[in-house]
Symmetry: C2
Subunit: 150 residues, 2 copies
DNA sequence: GTATAAACTAAGCCATGGCTAAATTTAAGA
DNA sequence: TCTTAAATTTAGCCATGGCTTAGTTTATAC
């Protein structure tokens, strides 16, 4: 599968600069949404399964400090994804709920896909967390086809 | 494929907090390496195909300003991935070359895999750029199996 | 050989998202 | 009720990686 370094130039010529720049721009943009998606997805999961989303739990599950989580939640509030009053739990806005649902859908497809192609459950959980933000609709469709196959 | 929201709780219970935190930690760590990998991979490609890697070209292909690219190249130098003297072109150290080769290998596998499952070339190029940093060895092996199948 | 353009560096701005330490508020228990 | 513990916020630190504007160096072309 590996590409012979000596043949690399011929087999994998440089892309057009703009096309390449565009690909990196897409990644950077996805990047900006990653944190937002992870938070709303997690907050939604917490509300569903525990009745409410407390900052302390969000922080614990993200594996970061409470102040760090709080800072990002403040940004999410500024941007209209969540609401919360001081010292109270966190709620999703319509916008936040929509994003959470879409993210979870994507996350689930990636997770199921990984399982389908023989990846272990543990790895599927870890990898899907990272991959979900970088999968286009077209690729997602390809994943769905494979999940549904046979 | 989509999961009925009403059944979500039962079908997709919360993970253990530590396991979930660990997955996010993996993503954050991958994140830290992303920029580094993109740069060394690009620098290696430029050296191979054009004889040298100039900052102006790196910046253009990443779609960012020259000073921004310069700042990151300075970090890469600090961390031992590249060398370069003022106003001169950029070279990879052993460490940088190794990382570039590994990154390209991974990148290629993801790209070939996407093509194999029916994703268009354009999308495969874009998505592989984002996905390559979040694919574990185990998943990569699954991808390789599929590329080699039939 | 010198003028000019291109490449690069320097300085300083910004937002994000980590952190710790300390203050505040809320909730719980005695 | 009152004390205390837990949750949250505030303040301030740091690195990364974007940006612009302005200065410096190098290379080109005349």
């Amino acid at each position: 599968m590996s590409v012979d370094p000596a043949k690399r130039t011929a087999e994998r010529p440089l892309q057009e600069p703009d096309a390449q720049a565009e690909a990196f721009a897409v990644v950077r943009q996805a990047h900006q949404m990653e944190t937002t998606e992870d938070y709303v997805e997690l907050i939604d999961d917490l509300i569903t399964s525990q009745g409410e989303a407390r900052l302390v739990e969000v922080a614990e599950r993200l594996g970061i400090s409470q102040p760090s989580a709080g800072k990002t939640v403040a940004r999410l509030q500024r941007e209209g994804y969540v609401t919360s009053e001081p010292y109270r739990s966190i709620f999703l806005t319509e916008k936040g709920k929509k994003l959470a649902d879409a993210s979870r859908e994507r996350h689930d497809v990636v997770y199921q896909f990984l399982l389908k192609i023989g990846v272990s459950d543990t790895t599927a959980k870890i990898d899907s967390e990272g991959l979900e933000h970088h999968v286009s609709e077209e690729t997602l469709d390809a994943f769905r086809r494979i999940i549904n196959a046979r």
